[in-house]
C-alpha cells in the first residue's frame, strides 16, 4: 500500500529554512516541502545585499536557487506569505492571509530583524534604513542616488560593508560608533588598529564614543543627525546597524517556550511535538561553555538548518552548537578572522598578541594554558580554519602550542599528533 509522503512546512525562506529544505529534499524525496516567506523576493544570499547598494551585484546574481549547495528541485516557496500563528493541537500553521497549512513536521526559521535602539528620535523618517532584506537594499540604493552625505549609526560588520558600498557610490560617509572603536563585538579596541587604519585610509570618517540622539528631517526626508554631545551632522541618509533581534514575537510562549529566541533541545526540537527551530530565531549554545546564545550569522543558520532538516526527516542528528563570534571578512583591503573568545580584558585567560607590519594576531588560551579558546587574525588569516578546528575540538596543546602561538600551525601537526603520539 502506498504511503502518503510527509508534509514538511518551513516558516522562513532564508539561510536556516532553505538549508533545512535542501536537506529534507535530499533525505526524503517522497515528502512535500513548502516554505513560507514574508519577502517579495525568492530566497537569496542575505549577506550579499550590500553589493546591491553599490551596484556590484544584481538581485539575480545573489539568488539562492542553483548556487552552491542549493540545487534541489521540488521545494515550493510561497512568497509574501507570513505565518500568523501555529495551532500545535491540529498541527497547522495559519497564515496572515487566513490559510491553514497542515504539517507532519514544522520548522520555525523566521530569523531576526534589525535592533533599533530606543532613545534615538526620528527613526521613522524617510531615508533612515536598517538593512535586512533585498527590498531594504533596493530602497537604500534608490536613496543613495540622490545622496551626497550619509551617516551610519553603529560600527559593526554590516554597517562597515554598507559604508563601503556607499563610499563606492561616491558618497561621503560618517560612521558614528558608541564604543571606543569599530567592530567592538569582534575585537578589543587594542586589536582593531590595523582595521581602523585601513578604514581611515579608505576615506571613511569615524566618530567614536558618541551616539545619536535625534534624526532630523524635513519634507524631503532625513537631513541631519544630532549626536549626544550636541554636534549636528548634515546628511540625506542614515543607516542603523545595531545588531539584530530574533523574530520570535509571533510564537505563543504557552505552546512553545521562548527565551528571547525559541528554545530547542540538542536535536533542534522545540517543546511542541514535531516542531523544530533553527537559525537566528533559535536559542543555541556555545560548545565549550554550553552557555545559551543567539547569533545572527549566516554560516551558523545554515549549519543549524541542515541539522534541523535531518532531524525532521527522521535522521537524528545532534547540533554541535556554535561560537558567538565566528566571522571572516575583508574591509578596505584588510582581511580578518575572529572566532571564539577574543575579549580578554579583566579575565585570567592566557593571551598571546603579536604584531608585525600589516598583520596582528591574538591567541587566547584557557587560564591553565592547555586549551585554545579564541583566535583573532588581522592582515594574515592563512589556515584560520585549523585554529577553528583546534578551538572547537578542544585539541590539547601539548605538541602544538608553539605553532599555534606563532601562527605556523598546519594540518600535518594535527595529523602527526593524532597518529603518532
Amino acid at each position: 500500500m502506498a504511503m502518503e509522503g510527509k508534509r514538511y512546512v518551513i516558516v522562513g525562506g532564508s539561510a536556516a529554512g532553505m538549508a533545512a529544505a535542501e536537506t529534507i529534499r535530499r533525505l526524503d524525496p517522497g515528502g512535500s516541502v513548502r516554505v513560507l516567506s514574508e519577502e517579495v523576493d525568492a530566497p537569496y544570499f542575505r549577506p550579499m545585499i550590500p553589493f546591491l547598494v553599490s551596484g556590484k551585484k544584481s538581485p539575480a546574481e545573489i539568488s539562492l536557487q542553483g548556487c552552491g549547495p542549493y540545487q534541489a528541485k521540488g521545494i515550493e516557496v510561497l512568497l509574501e506569505n507570513r505565518a500568523a500563528r501555529i495551532d500545535t493541537g491540529c498541527a497547522q500553521v495559519v497564515t496572515e492571509r487566513g490559510e491553514s497549512l497542515a504539517y507532519d513536521r514544522l520548522l520555525l526559521a523566521t530569523g531576526s530583524r534589525p535592533h533599533l535602539p530606543p532613545g534615538i528620535g526620528g527613526v521613522s523618517s524617510d531615508g533612515v534604513f536598517a538593512l535586512r532584506s533585498l527590498a531594504d537594499a533596493r530602497r537604500t540604493a534608490l536613496r543613495a542616488k540622490s545622496t551626497r552625505q550619509a551617516v551610519m549609526l553603529g560600527g559593526g560588520l554590516l554597517n562597515l560593508k554598507v559604508a563601503f558600498a556607499l563610499l563606492e557610490c561616491g558618497i561621503k560617509v560618517t560612521l558614528v560608533v558608541q564604543s571606543p572603536e569599530v567592530l567592538s563585538q569582534l575585537m578589543e579596541p587594542a586589536d582593531a588598529f590595523l582595521v581602523r587604519d585601513a578604514l581611515d585610509q579608505a576615506g571613511l570618517k569615524i566618530i567614536t564614543g558618541r551616539s545619536a540622539r535625534q534624526i532630523l528631517s524635513n519634507e524631503d526626508g532625513v537631513n541631519g543627525v544630532v549626536l549626544d554631545d550636541g554636534a549636528e551632522l548634515a546628511c540625506r541618509m542614515v543607516c542603523i546597524g545595531k545588531g539584530v533581534q530574533p523574530n520570535a514575537d509571533w510564537i505563543d510562549p504557552r505552546q512553545i517556550p521562548v527565551n528571547r529566541g525559541i528554545v530547542v533541545d540538542k536535536y533542534t526540537r522545540t517543546a511542541a511535538e514535531n516542531v523544530y527551530a533553527a537559525g537566528d530565531v533559535a536559542v543555541t549554545f556555545e560548545p565549550i561553555t554550553g552557555a545559551a546564545i543567539i547569533t545572527g550569522l549566516w554560516t551558523n543558520a545554515v549549519a543549524m538548518g541542515r541539522c534541523a532538516g535531518a532531524n525532521m526527516a527522521d535522521r537524528p542528528t545532534a547540533y554541535g552548537g556554535t561560537f558567538g563570534i565566528l566571522n571572516a571578512t575583508q574591509v578596505a583591503r584588510m582581511p580578518f578572522v575572529s572566532m571564539g573568545i577574543v575579549h580578554t580584558a579583566g579575565t585570567d585567560y592566557e593571551t598571546h598578541s603579536r604584531s608585525s607590519p600589516g598583520a596582528h594576531r591574538k591567541l587566547v588560551f584557557s587560564a591553565d594554558g592547555n586549551r585554545l579558546l579564541g583566535a583573532l587574525f588581522v592582515g594574515d588569516i592563512a589556515r584560520a580554519g585549523l585554529y577553528h578546528t583546534v578551538i572547537r575540538e578542544q585539541v590539547r596543546m601539548d605538541d602544538i602550542k608553539k605553532q599555534v602561538i606563532d601562527h605556523r600551525l598546519h594540518y600535518g601537526h594535527l595529523l602527526c599528533a593524532r597518529r603518532y603520539s
Binding site: M48, P69, T299, T329, A382, A384, G385, L415
Partner: protein, 168 residues
C-alpha cells in the same frame, strides 16, 4: 556509474621534494610551462602544500573535497558547489573574497589570491587524465584512484606483507 577518483597521500613515501607544488602551480598558470610561469603576474600558486613536522616527517596536504564540505555550506555568496564528478569547486566570478571558506576549512588548503581578491583551491585538474601533482611525484606518494580501488590495493599490500612475514 564509475566511482570518481580521489587523490590519496602515502605519508611514508613523501621526501619533501615539492615537485607536486611546482607542477600544480605550472598546471594552473596561463602559459602551462615552468619558464613562463615564473614571470607570470599574478604569480601562479600551488593548491597543495608539502609541510614539515619535526623531526623528520613531510606531509603533503591537499583538498579532500569533503563529502559534507564545510566551505560549501559556509560560503555566503553561493560560490562553492560540487561538480557531478564530486569535485568541490570555487567559482571565481561569484567569490567575493570574504574568506569564510578559509575560516572553516579544517585542512587549511584554501588559498587567497590577494591581487584578485579571490579564494582558490584544488580543482583536481579537470582537463587532465591525472592531476598534475600526482604525475609529478617521483616516489608515488600521491595516488589518483577510486576509494574502493585504493583500499583494495592497500589490503593487498598488507596481505603480501603478512604472508612474507610468515615465511610465504
Amino acid at each position: 556509474m564509475t566511482e570518481a577518483k580521489e587523490i590519496f597521500v602515502r605519508l611514508d613515501r613523501c621526501m619533501a621534494c615539492h615537485s607536486c607544488e611546482m607542477a600544480c602551480a605550472v598546471a594552473h598558470s596561463a602559459g602551462q610551462s615552468l619558464y613562463t610561469a615564473i614571470s607570470e603576474k599574478p604569480t601562479p600558486k600551488p593548491r597543495l602544500y608539502v609541510e614539515w613536522v619535526a623531526p623528520d616527517r613531510a606531509v603533503p596536504i591537499v583538498c579532500r573535497h569533503c563529502e559534507d564540505a564545510p566551505c560549501m555550506h559556509a560560503c555566503i555568496a553561493g560560490a562553492i558547489s560540487r561538480s557531478p564528478a564530486g569535485v568541490v569547486e570555487t567559482d571565481a566570478d561569484k567569490c567575493i573574497g570574504c574568506w569564510t571558506c578559509v575560516m572553516v576549512c579544517p585542512y587549511g588548503v584554501i588559498g587567497r589570491h590577494l591581487e584578485e581578491h579571490k579564494a582558490y583551491r584544488c580543482d583536481r585538474c579537470p582537463d587532465r587524465e591525472t592531476p598534475a601533482c600526482v604525475n609529478a611525484c617521483p616516489t608515488r606518494a600521491l595516488i589518483y584512484q577510486s576509494a574502493t580501488g585504493y583500499s583494495r590495493s592497500q589490503r593487498q599490500t598488507a596481505s603480501r606483507a603478512m604472508l612474507a612475514g610468515n615465511g610465504g
